[in-house]
């Protein structure tokens, strides 16, 4: 049996329509790609939290697709007051100002408190332990200088097309930033 399509009107008409449709689709795709490419300035985007909009709700610790969130607490040392009673480190009305577990706000003891000089203490974040729950951020922002804040750590972030935390963020604090400037750090006082 001959597999060659018989040369009659129906087949050639179909082929003609097919070629036409292909040409039109190619043109359409070309126009769309061209329109989008000409506007292109930034090379790529990554997600980041705007610290000024963050409401410290705690979603960052639970909503990330990673088992341990890509969001961690970051410390802007230049903003910090180096307080002896750090409201990001201690529970309100702590028993005593020591690093004992019952005094600490951080559920994973991820903040290290080290003595600098009287009466100042340095507070630094152990990122391995930090879960991004924002408890310290809340304490620091409400009563202190606000030097603790949440940021997406790009060594961990998968840069999902739809950030799972962003879509539940009550402050709409998540936004895409250019990959060249992937952090929104606090530098001066707020």
């Amino acid at each position: 049996m001959d597999a060659k399509p018989p040369v009659n009107g129906s087949v050639t008409r179909r082929q003609f329509l097919r070629n036409g449709a292909r040409l039109m689709t190619m043109t359409g795709l070309g126009v769309a790609a061209g329109a989008l490419a000409t506007r292109s300035t930034g090379a790529a985007w990554v997600w980041q939290i705007d610290p000024a909009k963050c409401l410290r709700c705690g979603n960052c610790a639970t909503q990330c697709v990673l088992e341990q969130s890509a969001v961690k607490c970051v410390h802007a040392y230049a903003v910090c007051g180096y307080c002896q009673l750090c409201t990001g480190f201690f529970w309100p009305e702590p028993n005593e100002l020591t690093t004992a577990a019952e005094n600490q706000l951080c559920p994973t003891a991820a903040i290290k408190r080290t003595y600098v000089e009287d009466p100042y203490y340095q507070y630094s974040i152990d990122e391995q332990l930090c879960i991004g729950c924002a408890k310290c951020v809340e304490g620091c922002n409400r009563f202190g200088n606000g030097s603790l804040f949440l940021q997406i750590r790009h060594d961990r972030c998968l840069n999902c097309n739809e950030c799972a935390i962003a879509r539940t963020c009550p402050g709409e604090a998540f936004r895409r930033v250019p990959v060249e400037h992937p952090y929104l750090l606090k530098t001066t006082s707020r």
Binding site: M1, D2, A3, P5, P6, V11, R14, L17, A21, R22, T25, M26, L29, A32, L36, R39, S40, T41, G42, A43, A44, W45, L55, C57, G58, N59, V65, L66, E67, H75, Y77, A78, V79, G81, Y82, W91, P92, V116, E117, Q122, E138, R142, F143, G144, N145, D155, C157, L158, C160, N161, E162, R167, P170, G171, E172, R176, V179, P182, L185, S189
Partner: protein, 438 residues
């Protein structure tokens, strides 16, 4: 609990105190006398840009190899190894993002939201498989898609889906695509990515719902070949359209068809189609033409009905947008207050809305107008898809041989081995005219 209450109480007292203190830096940074130097926060860089270009390069190379394996080598084994590579690279190494399935959303989001510029890699991921499909069919589905590769791996006992069900379910991808695009265009979110059942497997973590859905798809996939690809994948829907008009197509036989029917059962994805019956009864022909005429006339009616129904969907659809949801919750809170826990996302977002209710409400109203248009278009799109499907079903097939359906064929190359002519080509079997080996 007690500790929580105490904390809350202390918060209130200290908030008052804090308000009295000046709003600027409450505790001035100290001047250290012992030469202490301020440490600086570490900022690990995001994934290098050239690596993203490398991803696009790997995609293009894999597409090229896939086309070569389908048309030149006609090798199922080659495609299997290519799909394993894609599963490892795009799936488990790249963790599924960005993938072509979600990329049309980025394109639409970029078109309607001037703040977002679509990155070049996303353009490549979205358009390259489509362009390849316009020339060579669904080479992307065959060997490059990690989601497809994962489902292909678990397929052990394919069961044929009745053709009527297959045709009916193949409309769903377009509905999903339409929904995904209106939600992307209105800036609600990327629904297609949100409900991708396999990406959580690649990341080895995910929510209960989506992991269950993924497990269900894999379990169904043991008996129904690649269920997500065939009945849900929105990008597969686009590729199906593109391969309907493709320049080259997958053919079972390397040279000519002997109508031996050996390939009839070889397709696990229900893409194999019989030749059109030859010799037509003129009475049927007239009935067929009349039916086609009616369906063509029905097309605008379906589109109009869809638009009407779509416009009714708008208020419900808009609620998925966080800004609209917040505005609605805020208005509800005014008439029927609900007590939310302190520092919960609900109460915090309501506090934010209460700071500037007018802005929240106008933003929501603006979004609702966008949704009116988007849902109207979505409804029309559904009508168009269903109407065109009916028209396509009533057009006479021009097939003379056993052939895979142009659109439904995933180009997996399984059917090649069933063809005796292919076995002759490979030297596994003597040709009909040859003397039998002694």
């Amino acid at each position: 609990m007690l500790r929580r209450l105490k904390f809350v109480g202390a918060l209130g007292v200290m908030l008052l105190l804090a308000l009295m203190v000046c709003a600027e830096q409450r505790f001035p940074p100290p001047d250290f006398e012992n030469g202490y130097r301020l440490p600086s926060a570490s900022t690990p860089a995001a994934r290098q840009l050239w690596l993203q270009y490398a991803d696009a390069g790997v995609l293009l190379a894999a597409l090229g190899i896939s086309v070569w394996l389908i048309y030149k080598k006609r090798s199922r084994r080659g495609l299997f190894w290519l799909s394993l590579f894609s599963l490892a690279y795009f799936g488990f190494y790249r963790k599924g993002c960005i993938c072509p399935i979600g990329s049309p959303q980025n394109i639409v989001y970029g078109l309607f939201n001037p703040d977002y510029v679509v990155p070049a890699t996303v353009l490549v991921f979205c358009f390259a498989p489509l362009v390849v499909a316009l020339f060579a069919g669904r080479a992307f589905c065959a060997g490059v898609c990690p989601q497809g590769a994962l489902q292909d791996l678990v397929l052990i006992k394919p069961v044929a889906v009745p053709l009527w069900l297959e045709q009916a379910l193949s409309v769903i991808p377009y509905l999903f695509l339409g929904a995904g695009l209106i939600y992307a265009g209105t800036g609600t979110g990327f629904v297609i990515c949100r409900y991708d059942p396999f990406v959580p497997f690649f990341r080895l973590s995910g929510g209960v719902f989506i992991l269950t859905a993924g497990a269900a798809f894999l379990m169904a996939g043991m008996f129904v070949g690649r269920p997500y690809c065939r009945f849900l994948c929105p990008y597969g829907g686009l590729l199906r359209l593109a391969s309907l008009v493709s320049k080259w197509r997958v053919r079972v036989t390397p040279d000519f068809c002997t109508q031996c029917r050996l390939c009839e059962q070889s397709c696990p994805f229900g893409a194999m189609r019989e030749p059109a019956p030859s010799g037509t009864n003129p009475k049927w022909l007239w009935a067929e033409r009349k039916r086609l005429g009616w369906l063509l006339a029905l097309l605008p009616v379906l589109v109009a009905a869809g638009m009407w129904a779509g416009s009714k969907l708008s208020p419900a659809a808009a609620q998925l947008h966080p800004a609209v949801a917040l505005a609605e919750r805020y208005t509800r809170q005014q008439s029927h207050p609900v007590q939310y826990g302190l520092m919960t996302p609900e109460s915090l977002s309501l506090q934010r809305a209460a700071e500037d209710p007018k802005a929240v409400l106008t933003a929501a109203a603006d979004l609702r107008h966008r949704f009116d248009l988007a849902c109207w278009l979505f409804g029309g799109w559904i009508g168009l898809v269903i109407g065109l499907k009916l028209v396509a079903l009533s057009v006479r097939p021009g097939r003379t041989d056993f052939e895979p359906d142009r659109g439904a064929c995933l180009a997996c190359a399984r059917c090649f081995a069933a063809c005796p002519n292919e076995r002759v080509r490979l030297g596994l079997m003597p040709a009909a005219g040859d003397p039998a080996p002694s």
